[in-house]
């Protein structure tokens, strides 16, 4: 049973990640390749707060979201100045710089050795969460909250403005909307939720190292998002379900681990190509990348 719970917890984390990526990529057509950087920043900052101070979870989560969100301003600043492919490459650059820092700034991050023994989360400063059950409940609740809030965002006037930015940025500007403000808000919320996923992950597995937050991981999140679909809520959720459950299905088939890891990547890649050809909005998505 613990095995099933583990999968559900990871699924919840990936639902948050794909939903957070959807806000910028799916709604505002801002193709970023650095979601894993925010995921990692959240994990490391959260670890720092958990290990240095004995703070209640809600406070840690709020701090993590705030700090991770603050890092998003670097990306939103780039989005103002850089268009299309230049923006994509700049976000890749941000991803690689964050990874390089996590890997090389050994005094703080312990670099490749990683940080072991991350304590569990304290709810309201009282009892510490341990074991798979506690994280199951916590991640389910947070996932539900994130799904609710992001669904609301997509449907709200805020989502309408992001959608309009995707369609025709200049016209939206000529209608009196501050594009920079809206993009920055989208990046902030996106990064904050990715950071939240990061702290849940770090505290749940109690060990982090930089290899969980690479460009490949960003591309992985991106693949999940595009397979599931962009522009609404159910698309990203389905994408997360697909990429988290597929390896488990392959395990049932009984493939050796060495082959299975590569095979599932091949399946993701093929799925991505086929989806882009037959259904560019994704399996359950609403909008198509411009």
């Amino acid at each position: 049973m613990e095995y099933v719970f583990h999968i559900i917890i990871m699924l919840n984390i990936y639902i948050m990640l794909t939903l957070s990526a959807n806000l910028t990529i799916g709604m505002a057509n801002l193709l970023t390749m650095c979601q894993a950087a925010f995921y990692g920043i959240g994990a490391y900052i959260g670890t720092f707060f958990l290990m240095q101070f004995n703070l209640p979870f809600l406070l840690v989560a709020a701090l993590v979201m705030l700090f991770t969100g603050a890092f998003s301003f670097l990306v939103s600043f780039a989005s103002v100045r850089l268009k299309d492919d230049y923006f994509v490459i700049a976000t890749m650059g941000f991803q690689l710089i964050v990874y390089t820092i996590l890997y090389n700034w050994t005094d703080v991050t312990r670099g490749p050795y990683g940080i072991p023994g991350i304590p569990g989360i304290r709810l309201f400063g009282m009892f510490e969460l341990t074991g798979v059950y506690a994280y199951l409940v916590l991640s389910l609740v947070l996932m539900a909250v994130v799904v609710f809030l992001f669904h609301h965002l997509v449907e709200s006037p805020f989502g309408r403005v992001l959608n309009a930015i995707r369609a025709d940025e200049i016209t939206v500007k000529s209608m009196g909307r501050n594009i920079v403000k809206f993009k920055s808000l989208a990046f902030f919320l996106s990064a904050a939720v990715a950071g939240l996923a990061g702290i849940i992950y770090a505290s749940y597995v109690s060990y982090i190292d930089p290899t969980s937050f690479t460009l490949d991981e960003s591309i992985f999140i991106l693949s999940a998002l595009f397979i599931g679909g962009i522009g609404n809520t159910k698309g990203p959720v389905l994408g997360a379900v697909f990429v988290v459950l597929l390896p488990e299905l392959l395990r049932f088939v009984g493939l050796p681990d060495s082959v299975a890891a590569n095979l599932r990547q091949i399946i993701y890649g093929l799925a991505l190509i086929l989806v882009m050809y037959y259904r560019p909005q994704g399996l359950l998505g609403k909008t198509i990348m411009k």
């Binding site: 609301h152 709200s156 006037p157 805020f158 309408r160 200049i170 500007k173 000529s174 209608m175 009196g176």
Partner: protein, 261 residues
């Protein structure tokens, strides 16, 4: 005078790294409540002038004064809220959004557009949305008459409308923002004759019923003659001639240099 342009200058660098002066001191007074046409050859800087007025182009010298306010250094979105609306060249509705959403976005009222604000203040937000919906219906009725077909198509995706329809609906959309000056960049280009007539009517109504001032770029001289009260001819980076439309278009020099007659 609703809009005054004083000594507007701008230069660009071309592919050979040579600098050239596109606008070399444009002076123009746009009269309130009139339709002014801006004519001139391709690449003379008409659209650039629009970009300067609406704040999309900032690297210029000179002064843009709108209703007594100096526009230098005000960002584009603020200028729009101050009362200037713009239809872009090939301007269409925003696809992926419904006609209703297109119209609502054009409103100056931004209630509920901050993240979660519609969740925190649902009453205020619902009231604003309702108000906008009423305004949309009212604007469409004013432009296209009682019981027009667009009132039943509000939930249709904008990209499903024909090009000509999108153009006239984009013009109608401009009336949502409570603007006083409208900049129309080639409203008739690529539109079939049936819609050109509707566009002509709409622009007339903008002036006569709504009391708006219109500044438009147009290459269709027939159209200019019919709608414009005043015509300004842009040539060699300056306004070479300005005056009543017929007078400018029949001017010997204008006919020679622009119309090639």
């Amino acid at each position: 005078m609703i809009l005054q342009l004083k000594d507007i200058r701008i230069s660009f660098t071309n592919a050979q790294n040579e600098s050239f002066d596109l606008l070399r001191g444009v002076n123009l007074d746009v009269e309130k409540g009139k339709i002014t046409a801006l004519v001139g050859g391709n690449g003379t800087g008409k659209t650039t002038l629009f970009n300067i007025i609406s704040g999309f182009e900032k690297n210029y010298t000179g002064e843009v004064v709108f209703e007594g306010n100096d526009f230098n250094r005000i960002p584009a979105h603020r200028i729009s809220l101050m009362g200037i609306g713009r239809l872009f060249q090939d301007g269409q509705l925003m696809g992926g959004l419904t006609l209703m959403e297109n119209m609502k976005l054009a409103s100056d009222d931004t209630t509920g557009e901050m993240p979660f604000s519609s969740l925190l203040f649902p009453k205020k937000w619902k009231k604003a949305e309702l108000q906008k919906e009423l305004q949309v219906r009212e604007v469409l009725t004013r432009i296209f008459g009682q019981d027009n077909k667009y009132l039943n198509m509000l939930d249709k995706d904008a990209s499903e409308f024909s090009y000509g329809e999108q153009r006239i609906l984009s013009l109608a959309r401009l009336l949502m923002g409570g603007d006083r000056l409208l900049l129309l960049d080639e409203p008739t280009s690529g539109v079939n004759p049936m819609y050109i007539e509707i566009i002509e009517q709409i622009i007339r109504e903008m002036k006569e019923q709504e009391g708006l001032t219109v500044l438009l770029i147009e290459h269709n001289m027939h159209f200019v003659r019919k709608v414009a009260d005043v015509c300004a001819y842009l040539d060699e980076g300056i306004i070479a001639k300005v005056g009543p439309t017929a007078e400018v278009l029949d001017d010997k020099n204008v006919r020679n240099s622009y119309l090639g007659l």
